[in-house]
Symmetry: C2
Subunit: 443 residues, 2 copies
């Protein structure tokens, strides 16, 4: 039958960069496929296939692989299943040296290898401030107190008994794409945008709990959320936001939260930088002013060009990124390629995504995959015929408020280059004439 890549001279290895996330074997194969007959999109699409009747005509031996001639593994070989061994390369990755201790580090989601909008829970990005605690759900408690009529301490049994909701929402770290404020172009989308994941969350609306304890509506203006990790991570949440769509979650993608996502209980503040979605949630205090905690006075603030800091900038404005082709991947054929990526907005739904292959001179509107949900990742796709010349791939989202994702030049004109947080600029991937894809900044 057909063999992979009949022209070995044209196969190029992925860059040998320790930061470079190799895509999974299949998708890498897709991008590295050497056979390039050119012609129209359809011809290119099937260039790697062989005509079935050619194979039969040539009287090739019938290729019946071993696995088609034997009994396979028994059912329930894994009462809780795991990915195929061939996919071992699709994993979270840490950027060496990014933080001083492994307990306060980041593990990035391999966006370049993923499909659709749901992030597998095993690949959800991680960001901890004092490592991942091992919380016993039978001992865990949530205290709700402060400016309330009936302060309460809830067990997990209490929490799961409340009326529940399920919602699909993204979580993005405020520092995602932070390196790109300056002139650092990290090599892959896993490292440039991989502090981003999307799950179906299940839990109790925070407003339900607040109704239960009876907040003092005359005085209450802010909440404090506190985690049970060693950092006692604390964040201020405005009351209006808390009463809108904030969740106290115990479920993630159908099952209980994963340990690194706050098991057994976390806050989920849709559309807001991830640090506000406090994990291992143990306390909610109702008050009348912001708390100015360490993680909102010292970190998660926006350094402006004049030297001032902006504080309490919670919401993620609309953002998008092409996940394939993306940095570190190599296109080996001319002809048809599907460009695909993710778009999201902390303000609501994605309305439209445009894609440019010439660095923003010309734009075409991409297809959005249903469902398009509020404050959730949205998958976009568009057809592209690569003629073999250099190309600059960009995506630009417009959300339902009419907000248009800015260029990095526009963003820097307002916010300078010394920020860390809330970089939602248009990302550019350069395809060079050899097919190598790399991260560049178009200024």
């Amino acid at each position: 039958m057909v063999t992979d890549d009949g022209k070995p001279g044209r196969i190029r290895p992925a860059p040998e960069n320790h930061l470079a996330a190799s895509p999974d074997p299949v998708r890498r194969g897709f991008l590295r496929r050497a056979v390039a007959l050119g012609g129209g999109a359809l011809a290119a699409r099937t260039a790697g296939s062989v005509r079935a009747d050619d194979a039969l005509d040539k009287n090739l031996p019938p290729h019946v692989p071993e696995w088609s001639r034997t009994l396979g593994a028994p059912t329930l070989a894994s009462p809780y299943g795991v990915p195929a061994k061939y996919e071992a390369n699709v994993k979270r990755r840490e950027s060496p040296g990014l933080t001083r201790t492994p307990q306060s580090s980041v593990a990035f989601t391999p966006l370049q290898s993923l499909f659709g909008i749901i992030t597998p829970s095993g690949l959800h990005f991680e960001r901890h401030h004092a490592g991942m605690p091992d919380v016993d759900p039978h001992q865990h408690r949530l205290m709700v107190h402060g400016l309330v009529a009936n302060p309460r301490i809830y067990t997990m049994d209490d929490i799961v008994r409340f009326p529940s909701v399920s919602r699909v929402h993204f979580i993005e770290c405020g520092a995602n794409t932070g390196m790109e404020w300056g002139n650092v172009a990290v090599p892959t989308v896993q490292y440039s945008h991989g502090m981003l994941s999307c799950s179906e969350w299940t839990g109790v609306l925070l407003s339900t709990l607040l109704d239960e304890v009876g907040i003092d509506r005359a005085k209450a203006k802010y909440l404090l959320a506190e985690g049970a990790d060693g950092a006692s991570l604390t964040r201020t949440i405005p009351l209006a936001m808390a009463l809108d769509d904030v969740l106290v979650c115990y479920g993630q993608n159908g099952e209980m939260l994963r340990p690194e996502q706050g098991y057994p209980l976390r806050l989920l503040v849709p559309g807001v930088q991830g640090v506000s979605s406090v994990k291992w949630l143990r306390r909610i205090e109702v008050g009348d002013q912001p708390w100015n905690t360490r993680e909102e006075a010292l970190h998660y603030i926006d350094l402006m060009p004049g030297g001032k800091h902006r504080q309490y900038t919670w919401i993620h404005e609309a953002k998008s990124v092409i996940t394939a082709p993306s940095g570190g991947q190599v296109l080996l054929d001319h002809g048809y390629h599907e460009i695909t990526g993710l778009a999201w907005s902390g303000r609501g739904k994605v309305s439209r995504v445009d894609v440019s292959t010439d660095g923003g001179r010309n734009w075409r509107t991409a297809r959005l995959s249903e469902p398009v949900l509020t404050k959730a990742l949205t998958r976009f796709r568009i057809d592209w015929t690569w003629n073999g010349g250099p190309a600059l791939l960009q995506s630009r989202v417009i959300d339902e408020t009419g907000y248009v994702q800015p260029t990095i030049r526009q963003l820097r004109a307002v916010r300078g280059i010394r920020s860390i947080y809330h970089n939602n600029a248009i990302q550019t991937w350069r395809v060079d004439a050899t097919g190598e894809v790399s991260n560049v900044q178009v200024l």
Copy 2:
């Protein structure tokens, strides 16, 4: 702080039945919580909590658990994460003795422990005919031939290069709930309805591949799909269905298919009994009549009361089931409970779900969780105040075609009691005065 269940005399163990799927610790706790102060729903909801100021007044020692006083595990402890150790009970289960060999068996999804509509890939039900093959994606091929102009053999690289789509769809085995045709009431929802799962699937529309090979539209009427497992599982698919929404899938919940779900390639025939969604897909042949393969002539046929078999009954009519409270669980308090479950239709979207707590005499309409998607699971929820008396819990779905889920009596009147497949009858869970929930048939 508060301790679980202050009244140990009222705690009852779950039935010691080897078939009984124990729900996960948290949800079990929810159902077994002993404190029952009665009164309104809100009072009951917080019955297990303590007032925070009571705890402070009594000068209880500040309970700061070990995990709040230490550094936790480092980030990236698991490059591919796994559930919390406390959730080990949430797993697929086999029904001992159901099939003669473990390679042709079923592993059931623990629906009683799940939230939302997405089934974690590790818990997707399994049904194999010759075990799970270990397919090397680099060697795997898909041949498309028969009444086509350009028969082709595709590599995985070819397949992933086609324009792709992502869709959320359920898969249900045709034999799901099959035991209930007679007088067998299996004890838990894991065994009665657990051959049911729902994922976000990504792949190529089969119509795209058929366009590519150029089917003979004058003659072509049916397709044969064949798997690469040892069973060479083969199924006939009507062409109209194939050209509608059938997918050739490589992605499941964001990542590549799991091995037990057909890695690296499967068919996905939305709304149709699972056996048609051929796993480890290696061949599609276009023809002009049904194939009458072993798995459509001998199995997956409906035995009617008169002794005849109905063949080629593909589509799952609308069906629903309450997943909590469900068989094997125990309610220990009176007062507020949320009743929740799943509804789905092979014909399109769910329009409405009604719930009865008195065996079908009175019905109330449940809340549906967004998104409600075509041929996908839909999560429903409804509030219930249990007064402590016996109750018969039922759900009844109506889909967008107007079809109403039948009672088992209505279904038997047409189809008798000797069928195996396509039992979509209303399920009844009995709550007795002691709070025990069991599977009963209301005839």
